[in-house]
Each structure stands twice: as structure tokens, then as C-alpha cells.
């Protein structure tokens, strides 16, 4: 059995940052089931990464390369093609690798498994199961890593950034992109991607539309789309058949927490990831989590930052120098859909919270209140939108008790 201070599960942006940080003062192992490091980044070949950390717009592979070069210079034990299948509460890790079963005893564990894509089963489109239906991430991998174009006439369901990016990608590779269909009445992706991925290439975006049926026995031959009403229900009589050979599902991401659940780590049903404090420690001591396994972050820069925090404190925990203090809960107040971290350590000073609002608000005020309704921090935004994650930072001056975050005009 291998013995280490810190075991990091997953070698994407989050796990890489955690392993690099933890290696500053402890013995680290990094496990990933892929055959190379970087998680989803090597397949995200578009530019748009690292604006905050590197102050320039890098492509996904470029962003990863920096961390891969860094980790190769460190004594981190990187094990690829190694899938973790079980983690015990005492931090014994069981993985399958090419060499067979691997057992590792760690003192602290960092969970960095990222997220997976929602599939057709989770959104319930009727019809047969012909070939030609891909999640956006799978299609992205086929085109950008394996060099395979999986279709010629493409319909995209979902206007999140991944759907938009893939619309452009198919177009550049010579496929016909018939349109992007979005069930909501406003697009999910960044305006930058609406402009540079759709408008630049004359790809139509159909809001308040969804796919109601998939046709074809062996291969997709077309889809039926329909307009939806205010309750997102298809409106009878608006159905339209669209011939295509490929349907791309870009319908959302879910944190990958099968392992976390088996360990018994409490999961926040709102984010789909473990409850964490501002040291990225979960509710079970010595288990840390970072990146998209905690919640789906907008920006990789923030994923990297959470990884560094998790890595640092995991190594402190492993060395026995992490103070166990009380945690103050952070509640979702008015207008707030989610907040991460959900707890703050009482001995913290500078605190960063990530939040999503429920509605679009112009000239918004985001505030943090103590239990007596005193405002301890306040900041203004010209606009806040559900599609854009907000980040606030403030300093704790003493003990407050529970905190509540809210937003108003």
C-alpha cells in the first residue's frame, strides 16, 4: 500500500492547482482516469481562459500546459489511466490502473472530479435511440482531440457556452449548423459567445424552443422542434420537422459526486456538490473539494483558485497544523440562488463568496448581513444576471454569527 500525505482525485484545472500547492510542503499523489492531465481543458481549444490569472485570453490547452509544465518539475506522483473506485472514511483509496488494483493510504484527500454532462435521459426526449446524438462535450472531444467530425447537418439543443462554442466549431469544420434551440426565453451563454460563435457565422438562435422528438432508427434523420409556453411546455401546433443527422445536447452540467456520496460527505442539493467552508474543506474533516465538483464555475481561473486553497489546507491538515474551528453558516437571502462556500471558518479574515442571483437586476446592490441585520459588507453592480456568477470579497472583523447574503435594486 502506498502512503502519502495528500491524495488528489482528478487532474483537471482544480486537481492540478491543488496538487501543485500541496506539494509545497507534503507528499502528494495525483490520480486521473484520463491518459493525460488537464481534464476538459485539452478539448476546449477556443480562447477564453485565464483572463484573471494570466491577464490574457489563452486557449484551454495553453492554460493547462502551464500547470502541466509546473507539475512535471515537482515531486508529485502523477498516476494517469487510474480510476478511483472507492474512498473509505479513513482515507484509504482504491483505484484501478493498468498495473491492477492500487491501494493508497492518505492523510488528507482532495476531491477534484469535475462535472459531467446531463444526457438525454435526464431531459426525457421521446423517440428511438439512433446514433448521432452526442453531448456537446463528447462531440468536442471527438473533433478537437480525436480529429473526427461526428456529423454534417447539426441541431444544437441548449444555448449555454458549450453549445455555442460547439456550434461554431462544427461550422468551422465544414458542417451545416441548422440552429441552436433554447427552451428558456433568454440565452444562457455569454454575450461574447452569442456574438462570436453564432452571429459571426449566421447561425440562428431560437429562444423558447425545444426538441420534442428524435427521428431515425439507426442514425438520426431529423428532430421535431416546438415552441414552448411560459411554463416551458411545448405548444401544440408549433411543431416543425427539421432534417439533420446529428443532435448535440448542451443541456447542462452536474458535479460528479458519486464518490463523495459513498464516503458520506453531505451534498448541497442546490449546487449538487459537497457543502464546503472557505478552506474548501467538506463537512468531513480531512476531505477537501475544489473546482466543478463543488459547483459549476463560470471561469477556470476561479476553479484554479479553489484548487490552490484546497491543496494548501489539505497539506496543513495532513501535517496536523490545521486548526479546527467553528464554522459560521452563510445563508441565501433575498434574490440569491446559491452561495459557495456555504460555511466560513470563524478564524478567517478575508473571505470570498461565489454566488448566483435568481433574476436579472439592474443597478443591483449585493449585501452581507449579520444575525442582527447589520450590513457588514455591501457592493454595487450595474447589472447582475443568473447566467453570470458573482464574486464578492470582504474582511471579517470579529465574530458575527450566521451571515446572510442578499441582492436588491
Amino acid at each position: 500500500m502506498l502512503e502519502v500525505d495528500v491524495a488528489v482525485i482528478g487532474g483537471g484545472a482544480a486537481g492540478l492547482a491543488a496538487a501543485i500547492k500541496a506539494a509545497e510542503n507534503s507528499k502528494v499523489i495525483l490520480l486521473d482516469r484520463n491518459d493525460e492531465l488537464g481534464g476538459v481543458l485539452p478539448q476546449c481549444i477556443h480562447d477564453g481562459f485565464g483572463n484573471f490569472i494570466f491577464k490574457k485570453m489563452l486557449t484551454g490547452p495553453e492554460y493547462t500546459q502551464f500547470f502541466i509544465d509546473k507539475i512535471e518539475d515537482l515531486p508529485v506522483d502523477v498516476k494517469l489511466e487510474t480510476t478511483v473506485i472507492d474512498i473509505k472514511k479513513d482515507k484509504r483509496i482504491i483505484a484501478i490502473s493498468r498495473e491492477g488494483l492500487l491501494e493508497i493510504q492518505a492523510k488528507a484527500v482532495v476531491l477534484a472530479m469535475g462535472c459531467r454532462e446531463r444526457t438525454r435521459n435526464q431531459i426525457l426526449i421521446p423517440g428511438y435511440r439512433p446514433a448521432g446524438i452526442y453531448t456537446a462535450g463528447t462531440a468536442q472531444r471527438l473533433i478537437n482531440i480525436d480529429g473526427i467530425l461526428p456529423g454534417r447537418r447539426v441541431v444544437i439543443l441548449g444555448s449555454g457556452d458549450i453549445g455555442l462554442i460547439m456550434a461554431r466549431r462544427f461550422k468551422l469544420e465544414g458542417a451545416e449548423v441548422i440552429g441552436v434551440y433554447e427552451i428558456q426565453s433568454s440565452p444562457n451563454g455569454l454575450p461574447r459567445n452569442i456574438v462570436q460563435c453564432l452571429e459571426d457565422y449566421n447561425i440562428p438562435l431560437h429562444l423558447s424552443h425545444t426538441v420534442v422528438n428524435i427521428h431515425g432508427l439507426k442514425r438520426v434523420e431529423g428532430v421535431t422542434v416546438a415552441k414552448v409556453d411560459g411554463n416551458l411546455q411545448p405548444i401544440k401546433g408549433t411543431e416543425q420537422f427539421i432534417p439533420c443527422d446529428t443532435l448535440i445536447l448542451a443541456v447542462g452540467l452536474i458535479p460528479e459526486n458519486e464518490l463523495s456520496k459513498e464516503i458520506g460527505i453531505p451534498i448541497d442539493t442546490v449546487t449538487g456538490g459537497p457543502f464546503v467552508d472557505n478552506y474548501m474543506e467538506t463537512m468531513i474533516p480531512g476531505f477537501f473539494a475544489c473546482g466543478n465538483v463543488v459547483q459549476v464555475y463560470d471561469l477556470v481561473d476561479d476553479v484554479t483558485l479553489t484548487g490552490e486553497i484546497a491543496g494548501r489546507y489539505a497539506s496543513f491538515y495532513a501535517k496536523g497544523i490545521l486548526n479546527q474551528t467553528r464554522r459560521i453558516p452563510v445563508f441565501r437571502g433575498r434574490g440569491i440562488d446559491r452561495v459557495v462556500p456555504q460555511f466560513i471558518r470563524e478564524d478567517s479574515k478575508d473571505v470570498t463568496l461565489y454566488l448566483r442571483v435568481k433574476n436579472i437586476i439592474r443597478d443591483a446592490k449585493i449585501y452581507v448581513r449579520d444575525p442582527n441585520d447589520n450590513i457588514i459588507y455591501e457592493t454595487k453592480r450595474r447589472i447582475v444576471k443568473p447566467a453570470v456568477m458573482e464574486k464578492i470579497r470582504f474582511t471579517l472583523k470579529g465574530f458575527y454569527g450566521n451571515l446572510t447574503v442578499g441582492v436588491e435594486r
Binding site: D47, P61, E62, Q65, G147, V195, Q196, R382
Partner: protein, 117 residues
Amino acid sequence: MKITCIKCPLSCSIDIKKEEGGLKIEGYECEVGRRYAIEEMEKPMRILTTTVAVKKGIHPVLPVRTEKEIPKNLLFDAIEILSNIIVEAPIQYGDIVYRNICGTGVNVIASRDIKRI
């Protein structure tokens, strides 16, 4: 023409027209947006990212990018050129894959290392 400003989350919808005596611009809320609208009308620029074929590499394709932005109307010409390029591994991050694409003076570079098999 209508332009959605992408420079901040406000996403102002800007109307820009050529008129006698100059440009008529409406709907922007700051100078950054005004300048963006003019640039988008006169000479929109974009980064191009795509892949090129690789021989003897651990992957069959290499992600590449234009080092800087190139004029938007050259994107498809550039793609056409790059779809005919084949490079041979090993490749190093930053290697120049194609010089002076479409006469823009901008090089196309490798986004990552690709080891040779």
C-alpha cells in the same frame, strides 16, 4: 447596424450608422462600448482557433491559434489554408505552424505540446 457590446455584462445594444459628417452611434453607455462599436463596424477582428492534422503524434490533431486577432472576413480563408496543413510530431507549445496567415502578418501557433509516438 446593430451591435451587442461584449465588453462588460451590461451587453448594451448599440446602433451605429454612417452619416454625412461622421458616425451616428446610439445605445452605448461608456467610451469602451463606443470604441468597440466603431471597430466592429469598420474592421472587426477575431482570434481564430482550430486544429491541424498531425503525423506520428499521440493525437491525430493539434490545436492551434492565431497569435493575435485577424480580420473577421478572413476567418474562412484561414480555415481553408489550415485544413490542408499537416505537421509532424513532436510539437512544442508555441511552435509556428503557419507564418503570416492570409497576409495578415499574424502567425498561427501550436496551443500545446504533442509527443511523438
